[in-house]
Subunit: 145 residues, 2 copies
DNA sequence: AATAAAACGGATAATATTATCCGAATTTAA
DNA sequence: TTAAATTCGGATAATATTATCCGTTTTATT
């Protein structure tokens, strides 16, 4: 897998929370993990990390749950979720795992791999949560199965 | 990491073996793991897998070791090493981990992710071992550090 | 003030990946 | 034919990732 399971769940959870927030609703752990098909307790850990990274917001107590501000929904990009959970290494790391792979000391796939890695970074850095949650709202995309 | 550590070692080992084979030499586990900077015993397991996948050949006994045929060096592509070690899932799988992500039931990043995933597949499917081992021979690329 | 619903945080467990160890089988050479 | 060098294969260990459990804290409602 390109991203860790934690990261996959994190992105799916964020998109669901965003969709609900756009609808003016707050949503809780139970609903989230049910809707995205993820284990509840594990998802809770990931949501905590997203809160600490200021990607989502949480409210404790009855009628509490998770939400996103309109600003966050519009401005936060996919890349930020990946960086918050998996770290940004994926977008920099050598394809063959070399520590010091660079222009001056490249691995054999450096040039070709860089193109793909940059394409991934560019794609994720230009895709907002809003853009993706809109697809959910239109039911032209899904978060489960 | 995009690929597992096993896969990274596997690609690096294959390229080193190819380089040596082009030079008309056979090389052994010790030299390989030293030259690519990988743990010996773990590398042995990976080499065995590559032998069973007909990517490299092995010879037992003194003066034994691993080698590649000229044909294999020219015809085998990077993608085959990845498939032998990590399986081909990376090139098919949904970016958000959905089991049934497809054109008719897409995840929100399906279209955009597919482009990048296909670029990776295309790149690896069109890059031969020969092309990469040549860079090693020219010392314009490295397998360690 | 008491109760209940929710997120939070720490500890632990289960599983997958990475790594090591060691004896067996094979082959070459003395 | 014995010894040594090598790959092979099975068992085990170490580490990272994924997952669960349970008590604590916060907050809204009664």
């Amino acid at each position: 897998m390109i991203f860790s399971k934690a990261c996959e769940y994190g992105i799916r959870a964020t998109l669901y929370i965003a969709q609900k927030s756009v609808q003016g609703e707050r949503t809780g752990l139970k609903a989230i993990s049910k809707e995205i098909g993820s284990p509840e307790a594990f998802t809770a850990k990931i949501l905590q990390k997203l809160v600490r990274s200021n990607i989502i917001e949480s409210t404790k107590g009855p009628y509490g749950g998770f939400q996103m501000s309109r600003k966050a929904i519009e401005e936060i990009k996919l890349v930020q979720i990946v960086e918050a959970i998996d770290g940004g290494d994926i977008f920099i790391q050598c394809g063959l795992g070399l520590k010091e792979c660079s222009e001056t000391h490249p691995c054999p796939v450096h040039d070709k791999f860089k193109v793909v890695r940059n394409a991934l970074h560019e794609m994720m850095n230009s895709t907002s949560i809003f853009e993706l949650s809109t697809k959910l709202e239109e039911k032209s995309a899904y978060l489960k199965r």
